[in-house]
C-alpha cells in the first residue's frame, strides 16, 4: 500500500474483505460476548443460524451478575437471572470459550479481554457493549455494536462499516500530582464535547499517553465513546508487549516472535495524515469532576457549578437549567461544597488493580462517612488486590468489598443509587437515571472517589494527600 498510513488504516486494510456501495466488509478478529448478548443468541437460534467461529468468540458474564456473592440466586430480577443463566447454556451449545461466574477468570468483559491476552494489537475486536473501545489501548481497533450486529458477527464473523474519519489527540507534558488518566479523558471530552468524536476513530498520542501504563491507556480509550467516537486507540509499544507477554491467550514461543514482528509494524507511519488533530497540554490539568448529565459537563474540582445565564445558546441554556434541576445544584456553587450520599469504585473504566491501589492509598487515611462500595473489575483483580492487602485497607476504612461485575455503573444487577441520591462514581456515564431512576452521578477518578467517601462531599484529592 503506497504512502504513510495510520494505525487505524493498517488494521482496517488488514481486515478488509471487500467494498460495496461505499461500505467495507470487515473480518472480525475477536468477538467478546457477555450475559447481555442473550438477545443475539436468541435471534441466531430463531433464524436457524449457527455460530461461525467459536474459536474467535470469548464470553464472561458481567452486566447482571451479583456482587454480594457468586450465586445466581442472589440476582433479584428474574429476567436478569434468566439472562445470566443463559450464557453457559449457549457456551455449551455453541462451543465458545466462557469465563463463567465461578471461574477465577470472570470479570467485566473489557477488563478480562486484556487480562487474558485475548485482546491483542492489530485486531478488530467487537462486542455488544459501547465500552469495547477500551481494548484500543493495546493497539486494536475495538468498538461496540448492537444486538443485530452481534447476530451478524455470530453468523458470519464479519461486519459492514463505512471507513471512519481519523482524529489524533496529542497529549503532551507531565501530569501534575493528583491528575490521573481519568482526568485526562474527562478533560478531553470537556474540550471536544460529547459528540466531538462522532464519525471518528481517535488515536491518542503524545508524551503523556506514552508515559501511561497500559491500564491507564485503557481508562482513556474506554471513554472515547463518551466523546462520541467509534473507537479510541494507542499505538502498541514496548509497554504493550511487556503487558501481553505470558498472558494465557497471548501467543507463545515462535508464535510470540511472529506476532511481535507484526505488532511492531502497526504504529502510525511518520507523515500519515489525520482528518482532524487536537492537542492538549497535560501540565495544566487538574483533577476533574462532572457536574451534569453528560460526560462533557466536566470541570476541574476547584471549579464552580456553571450558570445557565452564561450558556452559549438558548438550547444549551435550557439544557443546563434542566440539568441543574435534576442534579439538585445551584449556579455558582463550589464543586467541593457538593455533599454526596454514596461512593462507587469499579467499572470497566476504573476497576483495574492500579485503580484500586490509588483508591486504597486515599482510603487508608481515614474512614468513609457515607456508604462506599468497591467492585473489582475482574475476579483476578479482586484476588490480586486481596494478595496486596487492599481489601483490608478498604474494609478498615468502612468500604464494602464486593465481587466483580458491572455493578453500580449500570445498576442492572440491583446495585443501584436511589432516587435523588448523589453518588461519587469512578464509572463512565453520568446520564440521568444511569445508576438507577432519579440517581445523581458525579464522575471522577478512583482517588477522588475515595476522597469523597472520607469527606462526605466532593473533595480535592490533593488536599488529602498533600506531600504524598
Amino acid at each position: 500500500m503506497a504512502g504513510p498510513r495510520t494505525l487505524l488504516e493498517k488494521i482496517w486494510d488488514d481486515h478488509l474483505i471487500l467494498e460495496e456501495d461505499g461500505q467495507c466488509l470487515l473480518l472480525v478478529g475477536r468477538h467478546l460476548a457477555h450475559d447481555g448478548s442473550y438477545h443475539a443468541f436468541s435471534a441466531l437460534e430463531d433464524r436457524g443460524l449457527t455460530l461461525r467461529r467459536p474459536d474467535q468468540t470469548f464470553a464472561t458474564p458481567d452486566h447482571g451478575v451479583p456482587t454480594v456473592s457468586r450465586n445466581v440466586a442472589d440476582i433479584a430480577d428474574p429476567s436478569q437471572r434468566r439472562v445470566v443463566e443463559a450464557l453457559p447454556v449457549n457456551a455449551a451449545k455453541y462451543g465458545f470459550t466462557l469465563f463463567g461466574l465461578n471461574d477465577p477468570r470472570q470479570g467485566i468483559v473489557h477488563v478480562v479481554g486484556p487480562e487474558q491476552g485475548v485482546t491483542q494489537p492489530g485486531l478488530i475486536i467487537v462486542c455488544g457493549d459501547s465500552h469495547t473501545s477500551t481494548h484500543g489501548a493495546l493497539g486494536a481497533l475495538a468498538f461496540g455494536i448492537g444486538a443485530s450486529e452481534v447476530v451478524h458477527v455470530l453468523a458470519t464473523q464479519t461486519l459492514w462499516r463505512k471507513r471512519p474519519k481519523t482524529m489524533r489527540i496529542t497529549v503532551d507534558g507531565e501530569r501534575p500530582a493528583g491528575v490521573t488518566a481519568k482526568d485526562v479523558i474527562l478533560a478531553i471530552i470537556a474540550k471536544i464535547g460529547a459528540n466531538g468524536g462522532t464519525g471518528y476513530v481517535i488515536e491518542y498520542a503524545g508524551s503523556t499517553i506514552r508515559a501511561m501504563s497500559i491500564e491507564e491507556r485503557m481508562t482513556v480509550c474506554n471513554m472515547s465513546i463518551e466523546a462520541g467516537a467509534r473507537a479510541g486507540m494507542v499505538a502498541p509499544d514496548e509497554k504493550t508487549f511487556e503487558y501481553l507477554k505470558g498472558r494465557p491467550f497471548a501467543p507463545q514461543g515462535a508464535d510470540w516472535d511472529a506476532a511481535l514482528a507484526y505488532w511492531k509494524t502497526l504504529p502510525t507511519d511518520p507523515g500519515a495524515r489525520f482528518d482532524t488533530e487536537v492537542a492538549l497540554d497535560a501540565t495544566t490539568l487538574e483533577p476533574m469532576v462532572t457536574w451534569g448529565n453528560s460526560p462533557e459537563d466536566a470541570l476541574p474540582v476547584t471549579g464552580r457549578v456553571p450558570d445557565p445565564a452564561d450558556a452559549a445558546s438558548e438550547v444549551q441554556r435550557a439544557a443546563w437549567r434542566e440539568t441543574l434541576e435534576y442534579m439538585g445544584l445551584t449556579p455558582g456553587q463550589r464543586l467541593t461544597d457538593i455533599a454526596v450520599d454514596q461512593v462507587f469504585i469499579g467499572s470497566c473504566t476504573n476497576g483495574r488493580i492500579e485503580d484500586l491501589r490509588a483508591a486504597a492509598e486515599v482510603a487508608r487515611r481515614g474512614k468513609a462517612v457515607v456508604p462506599a462500595m468497591v467492585s473489582p473489575g475482574s475476579t483476578q483483580v479482586k484476588r490480586q488486590a486481596e494478595a496486596e492487602g487492599l481489601d483490608r485497607i478498604f474494609k478498615e476504612a468502612g468500604f464494602e468489598w464486593r465481587e466483580s461485575g458491572c455493578s453500580m455503573c449500570v445498576g442492572m444487577n440491583g446495585d443501584l443509587v436511589g432516587a435523588g441520591k448523589r453518588c461519587a462514581s469512578t464509572s463512565n456515564r453520568n446520564f440521568r437515571g444511569r445508576q438507577g431512576r432519579g440517581s445523581r452521578t458525579h464522575l471522577m477518578s478512583p482517588a477522588m472517589a475515595a476522597a469523597a467517601a472520607l469527606r462526605g462531599r466532593i473533595a480535592d484529592v490533593r488536599d488529602l494527600v498533600a506531600g504524598g
Binding site: 474483505i17 438477545h39 507463545q252 508464535d255 439544557a319 456515564r429
Partner: protein
C-alpha cells in the same frame, strides 16, 4: 421482516435537549425482556412517566397534539451512549420511523437501519427552524421522502439531506444485512483462510486451552 422506508408524512414532535442518550430512550432495567414482547412502553419511560407511573403532562409525547408523532426532530448527539439496540426497538415499536437531528450516537446510527428507522442529519439552523415550526404549530406534519432525499417542513420548504448509498438501499428495500453478507460467502471464506495463514497465532490458544 424489516419494514421498507419509502416516504412518510406524519406528525413530528420536537425534542429540544441535546445529548438525549440511549439510557433515557430505553432505561437499563427494561432491557432483558424478549424482543417479541415489544418495547413501546419503554420509550423515554422515565421522562414520560412519574415514579408512580403517571404520565407527565409536560413531556412532549404526552401532549395531545404530538401523541401520534412518527417523526422526531431532536438536537445534537441524539442516541449517544450505550450500544443497546433497545433504544431503536422502543422507537420503532412506538411508531417512530424517522429522527432528524444535528448528529447521532455512532452505535445508535448503525443500529437504526436494522429496524428500518431512518436517521437524518441536518445542520443546526435547519433543525432549530424545524423545531420552532413544530412548537408554533403543534401537531404539524412533516414529509420525509427517502428516494428523493428530501424533507418538507410544515412551512412547505424542502430540505435535502445526504445518505450513504448502501444505507439508503437497505432502508428502501428493508434488506436484511445477513442476507446481503451471505452472498459474499466465497470471498469471506477465502479471506479467512489467508488471514489465518498470516496470523496463525490467533487460532492457537495453546497454553490457555491445554492448561
Amino acid at each position: 421482516m424489516i419494514e421498507p422506508f419509502t416516504t412518510l408524512t406524519a406528525v413530528a414532535a420536537p425534542i429540544d435537549a441535546p445529548n438525549v442518550d440511549t439510557d433515557q430512550i430505553a432505561p437499563a432495567r427494561f432491557l432483558r425482556r424478549p424482543r417479541k414482547e415489544g418495547y413501546a412502553d419503554v420509550l423515554f419511560h422515565d421522562l414520560r412517566y412519574s415514579a408512580s407511573g403517571v404520565e407527565r403532562p409536560d413531556f412532549v409525547l404526552n401532549q395531545p397534539a404530538y401523541r401520534d408523532a412518527r417523526i422526531l426532530v431532536a438536537d445534537r448527539n441524539f442516541g449517544g451512549g450505550s450500544s443497546r439496540e433497545h433504544a431503536v426497538w422502543a422507537l420503532v415499536d412506538s411508531g417512530i420511523r424517522c429522527v432528524i437531528a444535528i448528529s447521532f450516537g455512532d452505535i445508535f446510527w448503525e443500529n437504526s437501519v436494522k429496524s428500518g428507522l431512518l436517521l437524518v442529519r441536518l445542520d443546526e439552523p435547519n433543525v432549530a427552524a424545524l423545531r420552532g415550526q413544530l412548537h408554533a404549530q403543534p401537531g404539524a406534519k412533516v414529509t420525509v421522502d427517502l428516494e428523493r432525499q428530501c424533507i418538507t417542513g410544515p412551512d412547505g420548504r424542502e430540505l435535502s439531506f445526504e445518505i450513504e448509498p448502501a444505507r439508503k438501499r437497505r432502508l428502501l428495500h428493508g434488506l436484511d444485512e445477513i442476507g446481503v453478507t451471505k452472498r459474499h460467502e466465497a470471498a469471506i471464506g477465502a479471506f479467512e483462510q489467508a488471514y489465518r495463514a498470516r496470523r496463525p497465532w490467533l487460532f492457537r490458544h495453546g497454553a490457555a486451552q491445554a492448561g
